[in-house]
């Protein structure tokens, strides 16, 4: 195993200064030059001198409380703290003098007098800064209180760590451990009140769940609630990471011990793409610690990536291939060759009987680029058709279409660092707090610095208001009216003369712009005209438009609330228009930023997963593009577009599509209109599910190929910033093979002669065939840490910002965006609008997070309903309710809240028992068939328990998951 060598991970004590002005000073006789504003502590660290410290760490602003980092400065009185003292030209600083040594020992002695000396049995043993500092300052005795040595004279003083005094009486200052959080333990007896946890919660995470309660001796870290779990804490782990002692410790470290090595890898949850150090002991993962040098997360994490990785070793994992003749049979465990031969024979048999176009693949947005590339290659080079699609179909396919049409590339324009320079953030149809929490923390930090926020969302989500931030404008629109609202904003910008004409003239097609103006300036797009449709007050839209156009650097961040509509692509175009109108594109702090759902949804699109385009977003109709792959693969490429997922399902019901290889996606639970999906799957002759678990789709599968988790393979994920991050294998695949190997074995069983022995060879093929990846190699990824595509001769280190000099397509293109109401309308039978979303602690269909302790926060999906709508239906908080649409019905519990407006209800889709997608319909985006998850007309009524569908589904599911005992 070739481990990535960690770059210097030293704690520099205080954050880096970005000043361009340099300052030269002398520390301990050595000259050092650093940016103005750097602390003395950091300046010393730059030349390798580690000043003792406890309350300082370079992820947090200096605090100056521990009094350990004192230094002496020639010509200045006293012993200032080096963490809070900035450098100045010509200073002569001494970090180690007789005075300092004595002072530091005195400080340490006081700390240790109120700290238990149980180092040998302490979880932080070997990983404790207090222990390190005691050594660093040469602490040799503690004169206060009872020395630990046997037989010493009893000299008892008050402490926080003794449960009882020597007389056996309870110590009122002692507090028991708080073990309420499933992932970490808070042990107050080990606390030195350095405030690092409190500051991390404020500065890094931005939740402000922690505080110091009391003063002086009474000072305590407090959540302000009974315990951590019932507090505002979101379990991001920032406090645990910041804690220098064993006060806040991961439970896995308590259980296992300290790790012995770490490997940098990339989180397999959302599209933020946080880099982590997987800290290992042997092949056991001890903990995941966010990596300071990860360019997407800058050392931060959320509860999912940081803690919710236990699914990777969950007992539900299937570790042997399985097959069955019919989906009504129980599963039979077989060898890999038997399973692959069975699958290959069936697929070939289907093609022989029903034609080349009768089978297809679904690539996974959870697997690596290399794996996804191979799956689409399987369709194109082995099945010889273009029937490949990916779950981006059901999330961000409109982004690909909309940004491709307007700008010429199917990706976000910025990096996440860009948010640090934005003045106005326009968040549309996204709730980063739940879906992209690490980005949300970075956004909140900017908002606390004064940037302003506009949120367009039917719900009053956590993104609208929270500790120390509040949206200047929350446009709580009626679901389905995005185009009307965003077009109305454009109308205001155009008619009030707020456009950036210089930008448009220089960068966009002026004639198209004129045509667009003629369209958008029409009074029918005025905020006043659409008020009745959108439910948003006209003056709010006007104010939001003015702020976006004139508030400085304005950045748009959007999510699935934009795309998952019948006009999803139109809204993406409208967003792209807004940014062009105001010149908010092509520099830091601005741009159009889709927040991608899954870890590698960007990558799976880049890799040619879509049925109409080869890797690099090049249409299959182009002969010159086909020629590249025909040469590389030695097969003819079909020039016709293939079937998209919904089209595959329709064709299956119709009988012309009969075989599917589905890698790492649970279409039965995640795709809309569950009954239709089930009918389609049931109609197929060969469904191959390649996954970690027997997911819902596997209920209808004939072949199950066990998958490998992100910990078990090498590869790359590409995040929402187009950042290609390395995924590194830290343990052997539990089922014997990484996913790319399994796809290769299946291809070879069908007659291909693939011979990849490492994913780096697959990347080499990608680079050789795909211009935007031309410069990407594993060596370069190791060197640079990560690379944002395009990466080629023009940009050998990648491209953080796109469209800087000009748009990828040449001139930016304005496209008209007429609002067309969705066909999904409320009426007497279904008078409410259902919209769906997610919650922080769970991820998508929950296959991973439901198999972790994250269920402590969200054990079931609930229906948010406004108290007025509840009252007229006789529904109380916590009641079982029946939720019905024209597609189907389910039951779940009601949550009465005014987060949703009257007329709107909301739920999540994390639990298969609820099956929220039984309710959603087959309506979809006009351009891409991305399903309209966000708008369904429903009725809600009191209920006694699970619906008939839920019961029959459960019965079918139990039946379909039977596995025959292995033959002896």
């Amino acid at each position: 195993m070739k481990d990535f060598i960690l770059p210097p991970d030293r704690d520099m004590g205080t954050p880096a200064s970005r000043s361009p002005t340099m300052v030269t000073l002398e520390i301990d006789g050595f000259s050092v030059t650093v940016p103005e504003g750097t602390s003395l502590m950091r300046a010393a660290a730059e030349i390798g001198i580690a000043v003792p410290k406890l309350c300082a760490t370079d992820t947090l602003e200096a605090f100056g409380s521990c009094r350990l980092c004192l230094v002496e400065i020639e010509g200045r009185p006293g012993t200032p703290a080096s963490c809070t003292t900035p450098v100045a030209p010509g200073l002569r600083v001494y970090t180690q003098t007789a005075t300092l040594k004595q002072l530091r020992r005195g400080v340490m002695e006081l700390y240790i007098s109120d700290h238990p000396l149980d180092c040998l049995t302490c979880a932080a043993n070997g990983d404790c800064e207090l222990q390190d500092m005691a050594g660093a300052v040469g602490l040799r005795e503690v004169r206060y209180g009872t020395p630990p040595e046997a037989g010493a004279e009893v000299n008892e003083i008050a402490t926080h760590f003794r449960a009882r005094n020597t007389g056996g009486e309870a110590n009122p200052d002692w507090r028991p451990k708080d073990q309420s959080n499933p992932y970490f333990t808070y042990d107050p007896s080990k606390c030195i009140v350095c405030n690092r946890c409190v500051r991390a919660c404020e500065e890094v995470q931005g939740t402000f769940a922690l505080t110091i309660d009391g003063r002086g001796w009474d000072s305590r870290v407090s959540t302000g609630a009974a315990d951590f779990l019932s507090s505002d804490c979101v379990s991001c782990g920032a406090c645990v990471q910041a804690c220098p002692t064993a006060t806040l410790t991961e439970n896995t470290v308590i259980e296992i011990g300290t790790p012995e090595r770490s490997v940098v890898t990339t989180c397999a949850y959302c599209g933020v793409g946080c880099q982590f150090k997987a800290e290992m002991r042997g092949d056991e993962l001890v903990r995941m610690v966010p990596w300071k040098h990860g360019k997407a997360n800058r050392g931060h994490s959320c509860v999912k990536g940081r803690f919710a990785w236990g699914y990777a070793t969950h007992r539900d994992r299937i570790l042997h291939p399985m097959i069955r003749e019919r989906i009504t049979d129980p599963w039979r465990e077989v060898s890999w060759p038997e399973a692959l031969t069975f699958a290959a024979d069936r697929m070939r048999g289907i093609q022989a009987r029903y034609g080349r176009q009768s089978v297809g693949v679904i690539t996974s947005s959870r697997c690596t680029n290399e794996e996804t590339y191979l799956v689409q290659k399987l369709a194109r080079a082995v099945f010889l058709n273009n029937n490949t699609d990916t779950c981006a179909r059901v999330c961000h396919s409109p982004t690909g279409y909309g940004l491709g049409q307007t700008y010429g590339t199917s990706a976000g324009t910025q990096d996440f660092d860009s948010v640090e320079q934005c003045d106005v953030a326009l968040v549309i149809g996204a709730n980063p707090h739940a879906g992209h929490p690490v980005f949300a923390s970075r956004l909140k930090k900017r908002l606390r610095q004064g940037a302003r926020l506009i949120v367009i969302d039917p719900r009053r989500t956590e993104s609208v208001e929270g500790p120390h931030y509040k949206a200047a404008h929350h446009l709580a629109l009626r679901p389905g009216t995005n185009v009307a609202v965003v077009s109305a904003m454009a109308h205001v910008i155009v008619t009030e003369g707020l456009v950036n004409e210089a930008f448009i003239r220089a960068r966009c097609d002026w004639d198209e712009y004129q045509e667009y103006v003629e369209f958008i300036a029409d009074p029918r797009h005025a905020p006043e005209a659409v008020e009745g449709v959108t439910g948003v007050a006209a003056d709010q839209i006007r104010a939001a438009a003015r702020l976006y156009a004139t508030g400085g650097n304005a950045a748009i961040y959007y999510g699935l609330g934009v795309t998952e509509h019948s006009q999803g692509s139109t809204t993406v175009i409208a967003i792209a228009n807004l940014a062009m109108l105001t010149g908010n594109i092509g520099r830091p702090g601005v741009g159009v930023n889709p927040l991608r759902g899954q870890n590698n949804v960007q990558g799976s699109c880049d890799m040619g997963s879509f049925p109409h385009e080869l890797p690099g977003y090049r249409h299959v109709k182009n002969p010159e593009v086909r020629a590249i792959f025909e040469a590389a693969w030695g097969v003819p490429i079909d020039p016709e577009p293939g079937l998209r997922i919904p089209n595959m399902l329709d064709a299956a019901v119709e009988g012309t599509f009969r075989g599917l290889y589905c890698q790492g996606e649970d279409i039965l639970q995640s795709d809309p209109d569950t009954k239709h999906v089930a009918a389609a799957l049931a109609a197929m002759d060969c469904v191959i599910v390649h996954d970690l678990f027997l997911n819902e789709t596997a209920n209808y599968a004939h072949v199950f190929l066990p998958g490998s988790s992100f910990l078990e393979k090498d590869g790359t994920f590409t995040n929402a910033e187009r950042r290609i991050n390395r995924v590194r294998r830290v343990m052997a695949p539990k089922a014997g093979h990484a996913d790319w190997e399994v796809t290769q074995m299946l291809a070879n069983a069908m007659g291909a002669e693939w011979a990849y022995t490492h994913p780096s060879q697959i990347m080499a093929e990608i680079a050789a065939t795909t211009p935007s990846f031309a410069g990407v190699t594993y060596d370069r990824l190791d060197q640079l840490g990560s690379i944002q595509w395009p990466c080629n001769d023009d940009a050998p280190e990648g491209t953080p910002l796109m469209h800087v000099e000009g748009f990828v397509r040449g001139r930016g293109r304005f496209i008209r965006t007429e609002y067309v109401a969705t066909d999904e309308r409320t009426g007497p039978r279904y008078p409410l609008l259902l919209t769906t979303g997610r919650i922080l602690s769970q991820y998508n269909v929950g296959a991973q997070t439901r198999r972790t302790a994250n269920v402590a926060w969200h054990a079931e999906d609930v229906l948010e309903i406004h108290p007025h709508d509840a009252e007229t239906r006789g529904i109380r908080h916590g009641d079982w309710v029946r939720l019905a649409s024209r597609s189907g019905e389910t039951t779940l519990r009601a949550d009465l809240t005014d987060r949703v407006a009257p007329g709107v209800v909301y739920t999540t889709f994390h639990h298969p028992e609820t099956q929220a997608n039984v309710i959603t319909t087959d309506h979809s985006d006009w351009a891409t068939n991305c399903p309209e998850y966000k708008v369904t007309a429903v009725q809600v009524s009191p209920s006694n328990g699970p619906s008939d569908w839920q019961k029959s589904y459960q019965a079918q599911s139990d039946q379909a998951r039977r596995i025959l005992p292995a033959a002896e």
């Binding site: 369209f519 109709k621 577009p641 019901v653 067309v820 087959d922």
Partner: protein
Amino acid sequence: MTAQDDKLIRMANQIAAFMASKPEAEQAPGLAAHINDFWEPRMRRQLFARIDSGAVGLAPLVMRAAPLIRRPAD
């Protein structure tokens, strides 16, 4: 008429609704190009079956674009 036909008609009409906002000269070519680029031959075949049998339910713009839509081979 099957549910599948219904769905295709709705999809074609949705595309027509978007293209209808474009300048006149771009409408039919825009619709045809979109269907040519994104609709698998099976879907286009079904669309033509619909068009050829009288086009009930299809938006007029779809009909105008029909000559520009590529008929699948075989």
